[in-house]
Structures are given as C-alpha cells and as structure tokens.
Amino acid sequence: MTKCSKDALRCDNSCGGDNCVKQRTKCALLIKSAASTAGIGAVPASRTVSCWMRPEVWTGPASPPSPSSSLICRYQDPEPADLSMEEESDTRKINNSFLRDHNYATEADIISTVEFNSSGELLATGDKGGRVVVFQREQESKSQPQRRGEYNVYSTFQSHEPEFDYLKSLEIEEKINKIKWLPQQNAAYFLLSTNDKTVKLWKISERDKRPEGYNLKDEDGRIKDPSTITSLRVPVLQPMDLMVEATARRVFSNAHTYHINSISVNSDLQTFISTDDLRVNLWNLEITDRSFNIVDIKPANMEELTEVITSAEFHPQQCHTFAYSSSKGSIRLCDMRQAALCDKHCKYFEEPEDPSTRSFFSEIISSISDVKFSHNGRYLMTRDYLTVKVWDLQMENKPLETYQVHDYLRGKLCSLYENDCIFDKFECVWNGSDSVIMTGSYNNFFRMFDRNTKRDVTLEASRENSKPRAILKPRKVCVGGKRRKDEISVDSLDFSKKILHTTWHPHENIIAVAATNNLYIFQDKVN
C-alpha cells in the first residue's frame, strides 16, 4: 500500500491524470489499514422534526445564460426549467426527457461548490465547467412580498479554463474546487475561486451609466467629416440598464505542486491561505508573485508518506489561528504568532480509535473531508465518511458531540469501496447561530442536527418531491426487516445522487443545497 501511494503521488507530480487525486487519497488512506470485518453500528432512531423548508430549484445552465434574461432562477415548473433557449425545439424535447434523469447533466454542469457571502444577499456556485454563477436575493417589494428571499441570477462568468502544464505533461481541470467571498469593502463584491492549481480574485460590480456623445461620430455612429467639427464635445454619462460585470483582479498561480483542496480568507482581510494535499501557503491578497509556505508535511522520502491534508480554515476572529484536517482523522490547530513556519501545531485533536469497530475501512472512513470553525470561534466541526463531529477548541482528546449521518451504510462499506463512493468528500456547515449543523448524504438526502434539542432530520432535495412552496417531508431509511410506508430501504438508495456541497445563510434560515447539476434553495416557512 505504501508503495502504491508513493507511485500515485509521483504520478500526480509528473504525468498525472484525472484519477490521481482519488487514487492517491485511496492509497494514502489505506496505509496501515487492517483487514477485518466491518461492524454494523446501531442506526439512530430518527425522530420527526417539523419541517420548515420550502424549496426553490435552479438547474445548472447548459450554456451560460445571457445577462439580459433576468429571471433564470425560478420555481420548478411542471415542465423542467428550460434554459437552453437557443436550441432547436426537437433537441430540446429530447433534452427535457433526459432532464428527469440526473445523468443527463453534462459533466461540466455538475455543481462543485456553493457559498453564501457574509451578508447572505449573494450566493455563488462553481461548477466542473469552471463557471461561477452568482445569485442575488430579490429585494423586498410591496407588490409581491412573498418573493422576498428568491434568489435570481446576478452574474455568470467563466472563472477557470482547462489548461495544460507542458513541463509536467499534466492536464489542469477547470473545475472550481472552492469559492470564498471576501467581506465587502466597497460597492463591488469580491470572491476568490480556485481550481486544482490557481486561485483567482474576482470583482463583481454594477454599472448603470454609460458615456454618450462623440466628437468624430454623429448620433448614428457615422464618422463625421473632420472639417465639420467646429466645437468640442465632452461625453456625458447617461443612465442605462443595470449591467453586472465580473473582472479577474488577481491571479495567484504557480504555488502548488499538488491539488488545492481549500482556500480560506483571514480575518485581518489582508491574507488568505490555499491548501493542497501536502502544503499550506499563505498569500497577501494584493501580492500575486509570492506566497509563503507555512505548513509542509511532505516527507523527504515519499515512501514514508502516511497522511495528506484534506482541508484548512482560518479562525473567524483570531487572525493568527488556523486549523487543518488530515486523512488520518486528526485536526491540527496552528498559531502563526509562534513561528513563521507552522509545521509544529499547537493543538492536536484526535479521537482514539475504538478497537471494537476496527476494520479494513477504518482509516478510509475516518479521513476528514471538511473542517469548519463555528461562527463564534469556539468550536470546530469535522465531517468524516459516516459522522459529523463537533470539537471544543479547549478539548483535544475527544469530540464534544458526534452525529451519525448515515450509519446504515456501515454494512455496505465493501460495495461503497468498490464503486469509489467511500472516497466522496462531503462538506458540512453551521447555521448562523451555531445551533444547527447540516451535511449531505446519498440519494439526494441531506441531514440536519439540532445541537440543543438533539433532534435530527433527513430531507430530500429532488425535483420529483419538492414542488415550489411545498413543505419538505422528512425521509427515513430503514435497515433490513420490514419497510414501513414512506420509508426507503438502504438497498434502494441511489449512490450516484450525492449531496456534497451545502451552505447556510449567515443570519437566516435559508439553505442552498447542490445536488449534481441542480441547486435547491430552501427557506423557513413564510406565513
């Protein structure tokens, strides 16, 4: 296994290919894993939680929508939302019939990240085609008060293009791995987007005036005879239809040998970190030609590689603290005040392994796919394959809370390994007050856990089940035995419909859930 991981990493380094990331993680994770039978844990009895969600659906565009078509985001029609306006009607029909099947979605349309900005007024998604779509919340209007909360497309732009690294003979995908908003600094909005290698800073700004009046051309744009120019004319700015522009302000490149898995903006609003499998780099937002490597876990000899970094995030208030998670299930907290290089952590969070549940898959399923600080900065949340854990920053030896996301899969790990699902990287989010956490699962299910009442709920994001303004019904998965009405059997779960990316409005109960090429926005029931 060790050898395998080394080869995979080398391969990533030199010749590489699409499968390398997964391949590498797979191998790195399997190191030292002992083969034993998988134990089946108890499935927690999910209680009924009154549902407060109403759905809103948006489908990834087959082609980037033109800025003029203002209301692209809409409630689901009985007919699937049709966005490819340009196409011939015949083809459209065929497409429509396919639309019901998620497999129709071209690879490029699959949403790969989703993120609210700090006010919650904007929501950005990135997809595998390198596009970023920004949604803006509809302003309160007297005529249609119920429309408040609807998110409409605000700006769409191509953030990354596929590239080829000629020195390493390596294809660089355009897929957007992460998007992070910067706190608003003037009337424009700024976000960072990243693919495997390059981080870009985008400015999204509005323009509602344009200059009018030429000296050398008349009103119709015809060139005037120079001899007829008898006086000078200064252009005047006239109001025009609102135009939203996205411009790339900075490109932070050439700093990562491996694939970037996360980016995080510091609370000092001056720096950010970008993290790949083995290193964390610190950048100044204004300087693109240099970055500082602050964590490097690459061993001198790649054969000794036992773990990779899976995610990293800055503390929301303390500008000197950041945490990074590893494929071995541990989280390290680093203090940048202590030293310029943070190879030595100041806190190490890890739960001792329970020998009774140890199996061949133990190490793989304990790999942390996401780490998030709570808004108040007291807790850390981590997601591994089967659970979400909440850690108190003051307690390193065990998590404060552990929530089972889909424990019923414990018995199916073998087949999940076969179909590679075991390497899916689920993300997790806090609500605005840190009292509820949310994370995704399979079969278009996503889970919410209320930390105070200890209640949890499974909900489904799908076109079939969520009519506009309908209230979401809790779903239940049953394991073996008799299947009651409304329950779904573990064996009939669709593992290709996975919800990996979700985000929660920073102040309100509005969530956005990315299910392959569909974006669902649910919000608190409006009276």
Binding site: P183, Q184, Q185, N186, A187, A188, F190, K203, S205, R207, K209, P211, Y214, N215, L216, K217, P226, S227, I229, T230, S231, L232, R233, V234, P235, V236, L237, E245, R249, S267, D268, L269, Q270, E286, Q317, Q318, C319, H320, M336, R337, Q338, A339, A340
Partner: protein, 607 residues
C-alpha cells in the same frame, strides 16, 4: 476658447476626447495622460462644468487608467482656474479614493494632499474638511482608510473647533471594526502626531498608540512599532520613559513573532529616537533577547542590525557594552541552526572589527570569522569573503589567509554554478587584498580552470575576471602569466575551449577599454595574440572560424596598418569565401569594418 482656433487645431483634441472612452485600454491611458491638453483646449469653465463631472464617474475603468487619472488631477489646479476653484477637483478624487485598488487609492490621497496646500484656509474648512469627514465616516472601509492619510495635511490649517473634530475622527478610526482601517490609522499615527500640539500628543496620541500596540490583530500591532519611532522623536526625553517605553518593551516581547520582527527591523531607528540613556538601560537587553529569539526570522532581522546598533551606541562605553553584552550573543549566532540567520550575520559581522580595534578583533572576532569561513552554507562563506576589506584595514588579511584559501578553493569548486559565479566576482577584490605574489601562488590556477568550466556563464565571468586582474597587476604580469595560458588553449581538442581564446577579444564590444588586448597593449597583441588568432582561421569548426573574423574586426584598431594589410586582410578575404554562410557573413562584416577602422588609424597618423 479653443473654438476660435479653427478646425485644424480642434481635430486632435476631438480625437483625444473620443479616446477617453475607447475600447482599447492603451488608447484610454494615452488620452488620460494628455488630460491637461484636453483641459487647456476646453478652457477652465468647461473643464469645471463638463470634463470633471465626466471624470468623477469613470471609476469603472482599469486600474492603470485610474492611477494615471489620480496622478493627473493632482496637477490640475491651474487648469480649473487656479486656487480659487481648486475645490472642483475634490469630487473626482473623492470617488477615486474609494476604489478597491490600493495603489489607485494611495495616488488619489497623494493628489488630495497636494491640492490641499492650494486651498485657502476658508476653502479648506468649507470644502476639504467636509470631504475628509465624509470619507472618515464612509460605509466602506476603502474610504475610511483613505481618510487616515488626509488628517495630517488639513489639521495645521484649520480653526481649533475643526481641529477638535479632526482629532475625534482620528480617534474613531483607530478603533474601527475592520483591521484594514485600524492598520491605515496605525501607519499614519506618527505622521499625524507630528502636526499635533505637544499637549494633544501626550493626551490623545499616546492613548491611541497604546491601544493600537495592544490590538488583538498582530498585523495592527506591528504597525504601531513604526509609529513608536516618530512619537518618540516628538516627546521630550523625560516623558519617554513613562509614555513610550512600556509599549516598546511590550512590543519587543510580543507573543507574535511578526511584531518582534518589526522591532528588530526598526531597531536602529528606535535606538536613535529614544537616545543613549534608554538605549543603554533598555534597548541593549531587548536587543540581546531579539538575537536569541526563538523565531529564526527575528534573529535574522536582529543579526542584520548588529553592526549598525553597535556603531550607534554611545561612545563612552561602547566597547564595554559590545564585549560584555552583544558579543556573547553574536558568538552563539555563528553556530545558529538557521542558515539565513548565519548569512545575515556574516554580511555585517566584519564591520565590527573597525569598531572594536585590532586587539579585540584578533582575540574575539577572528575565531568567529574563521568559523564562518568553514560554514557548511556557501552563502555564509561568500558574505564573509565579500566583506574582507573591512578586516584588511584593521588587522591585515594575512591573519585570515590560512583559512581563506581552503574556503575559496571549496567555493571555486562548488557543485552549484551560481556559487562559483559569486566567488569569481570577488576575485579582483581578493587579488587586491592578497597581493600579486600570493595570488600567483595560490589562486592563479583556479582562475585558469574557470576558463574551461562546463557552464558558459562561468567561462564568461572568468574572462571578465582576467581582464580586471590584468588592470590591477599590469601588462607585464599579463604577458607572463595570462597570455601564454589563454593562447595555449587555441590548441585544445575541445572547440568550446578553443573558443575561450576569443572571449577577451570579444568583450571589446562591451567594455571598450578593459578587454585583454587593449589592456595588454599593441606589442603583445601583434606579437603573441595575432598569430594564434590567424592560425585558428584554419580550424575545422565553423564556430571557431567566424569568431576569428569577429575578433579580427575588434582587435583591428590596436594593430598597426602594416599588420592589417599584410596579415589580417588576406585571412579575412579567405574567410569571406568560406563554405559556411555565417563565416562568410562575419568575414565580410569585418572587412568593411576593417577598412573603416584602418582608415581612421591612417587619419590619426596623418594629423
């Protein structure tokens, strides 16, 4: 008005105005750079009423256009009608002061500061000060950061009530929610303190300074260190201890290495600002701690300051302080684990010898130099070697030569060509210090070996080096030691080595008076070099042959016309009918050049 000038003169202006909004950034930029021409053509009235409103709304443009605009507007006072109307420039600069791009904002602030001087005291209060207030209480932090840079220019020229308001605004910004604004305020704190009355410095600035220096964000705290320097220079000596020193002490021991780094980096300035007494009592121990800091970056910054700090110590007990307090720390740094620390130290440590004098240098510093000459990191050794002249003045280089030689030889043979290149560049310096005898004995072979190094850059640098040596040691030395060896290479089996023979000649181009042939003079050139060069015209490698042509062209001017006619010309003519295209080309070049140069020589002889 320009309208009366007729169509011919209007047309170019019309083009410029239209290009203000051209699709091409470069054209817009050109047009903005000629904004004064446009304004002049429009006249002051239309500039105020039409051009400036248009420019106020162009903030959508590219950074470079905005930057040029911000700069232009700073020089626009006369174009809007003189100081009376200068306030018309405020709206466009105000909008530029809120853009997100720091360079543009900074330039807008710079221009605002400039035109603030052109405001009358009344206008300053009526127009400028309200603008500062608007920026200071703006919604976005970009405008608030810009405001920080404007307080100091309007404060001295406004009434006392407005002054109180300005102080209040500055206070508010120092405790702003966003670290961006606090950083901007902290970086302008010193500047603002300078224009404040001393009483307010003590009552207001000190409390702000203390607050910023204990900010929760280290990025803010480290800027307070800079402010510390300017505040300390403003205060009378007796107040420093109570008002500034507690904060400075705290900064020197800050939890965050970045703050300590800043203290180390600003140490010389701080030392000058607080005066000799506090330096002795407080800064010496603080400096010792910085030299022993746990973070290598801090140690390196402090090590860089060792010489400057020692130089600026009060003369009366300088030697004693250095010997008892600083030198022990320096000794430890010589064997530091971090190579950046060691090389920072190596770049300044030699300077201590002039301060400490001959005896101390021999007793205490020499062992350190020798240890550093044996350091595993080439950069450390190079830094020591490059500063040899300081020591030479004090104790003479002989003391070092025993260790110096192995260090040089090792660097000269380093596997990294950049290291070899660096040592070659120090060769002329070393030769000067060591003297010709020592050089011939120990280093000459090295210099020759570099001529056949497998890296081109080294071979090239080696020739440059030879030329400098010839200049130093004279033509006779060259004839005896260098020329035979260089010419000997004409028979080398490797054509690349044979080509090295031409290097000294080729460089005639770049360094007209330093090339070997010129340095050696006509005698050597004609008698020794020319035959070899001519012989090489029969070389079987074309590269060598065309280099013969090129060299002949260059040594032409030093040869007498007889040699030119009888020896050079036939060879060039032969080469001009060579089978190789390049050889032919260069030979023809040389022939036409030759005629020129020979004729100039003839001219010279005739006159």
């Amino acid at each position: 008005m320009a309208g009366a000038d007729g169509d011919d003169s209007l047309y170019p202006i019309a083009v410029l105005i239209d290009e203000l909004r051209n699709e091409d950034v470069q054209l817009r930029l050109n047009s903005i750079k000629k904004l004064s021409t446009i304004a002049l053509a429009l006249g002051v009235e239309r500039t105020r009423t039409e051009l400036l409103p248009f420019l106020t709304d162009t903030i959508y443009d590219e950074d470079e256009v905005l930057l040029a605009l911000a700069e232009q507007l700073g020089n626009f006072t006369m174009l809007v009608g003189g100081p009376e109307y200068v306030h018309c420039l405020l709206p466009p600069l105000e909008s530029l002061a809120t853009v997100e791009e720091t360079v543009v904002r900074d330039k807008a602030v710079e221009s605002l500061r400039k035109i603030s001087q052109e405001h009358s005291p009344v206008d300053l209060e009526v127009h400028f000060e309200p603008l500062v207030k608007r920026l200071a209480s703006g919604d976005w932090f970009t405008s608030r950061t810009s405001a920080c840079g404007l307080f100091s220019v309007c404060y001295p020229r406004v009434s006392s009530t407005v002054k109180a308001e300005i102080r209040q605004h500055f206070r508010t910004l120092c405790s702003d929610d966003t670290p961006m604004v606090r950083r901007a305020a902290a970086s302008k704190l010193g500047e603002f303190a300078k224009v404040l009355e001393l009483d307010y410095v003590k009552s207001d600035i000190i409390s702000l300074f203390t607050a910023l220096a204990s900010d929760e964000q280290d990025s803010v705290r480290l800027l307070a260190v800079e402010a510390c320097v300017s505040i300390a220079t403003l205060l009378p000596q007796e107040d420093l201890e109570t008002l500034v020193m507690p904060t400075l002490r705290q900064a020197a021991e800050d939890k965050s290495w970045r703050v300590r780094y800043m203290v180390a980096d600003k140490f010389s300035e701080l030392q000058k600002a607080v005066g000799p007494e506090i330096t002795k009592n407080d800064l010496v121990p603080a400096f010792q701690n910085l030299l022993k800091d746990c973070e290598a970056e801090v140690r390196a910054a402090a090590a860089n300051k060792v010489k400057e700090f020692c130089e600026n110590l009060p003369e009366d007990n300088r030697e004693q302080i250095i010997m008892t307090h600083i030198l022990p720390c320096v000794k430890e740094l010589v064997s530091d684990t971090n190579q950046h620390v060691k090389s920072a130290l190596a770049s300044v440590i030699m300077g201590l010898s002039t301060i400490l004098g001959k005896d101390n240098t021999i007793e205490h510093l020499l062992p350190l130099f020798l240890a550093q000459l044996k350091d595993e990191c080439p950069e450390v050794r190079l830094n020591i070697i490059s500063n040899l002249d300081c020591v030479n003045e004090v104790i003479g280089i002989r003391q070092l030569s025993q260790s110096l030689l192995p260090a040089i030889v090792e660097l000269a043979e380093d596997a990294k060509w950049r290291v070899r290149l660096a040592i070659i560049e120090y060769m002329p310096l070393l030769a000067g210090q060591l003297g010709v005898e020592f050089f011939d004995e120990k280093l000459n072979t090295l210099c020759m070996a570099w001529l056949i190094d497998h890296v081109y850059a080294i071979r090239e640098a080696a020739t440059c080096n030879l030329m400098k040596l010839v200049e130093k040691f004279g033509a006779e030395w060259a004839q005896n030691t260098i020329v035979p060896k260089v010419l000997g290479m004409a028979n080398d089996p490797n054509y690349l080595h044979r080509m090295t023979t031409f290097f000294p000649l080729k460089l005639l181009d770049l360094l007209p008076h330093q090339a070997l042939s010129e340095a050696c003079g006509q005698e050597i050139t004609t008698k020794q070099m020319l035959p070899v060069v001519l012989k090489m015209s029969n070389d079987q490698v074309a590269n060598v042959r065309f280099n013969v042509a090129k060299s002949l062209q260059k040594i032409g001017p030093v040869l007498d016309s007889n040699a030119l006619q009888t020896e050079v010309k036939p060879v060039l003519e032969k080469l001009a009918s060579d089978t190789d295209m390049d050889v032919k080309y260069f030979a023809q070049e040389a022939i036409s050049g030759e005629c020129l140069s020979s004729s100039t020589i003839v001219d010279k002889l005739n006159t």
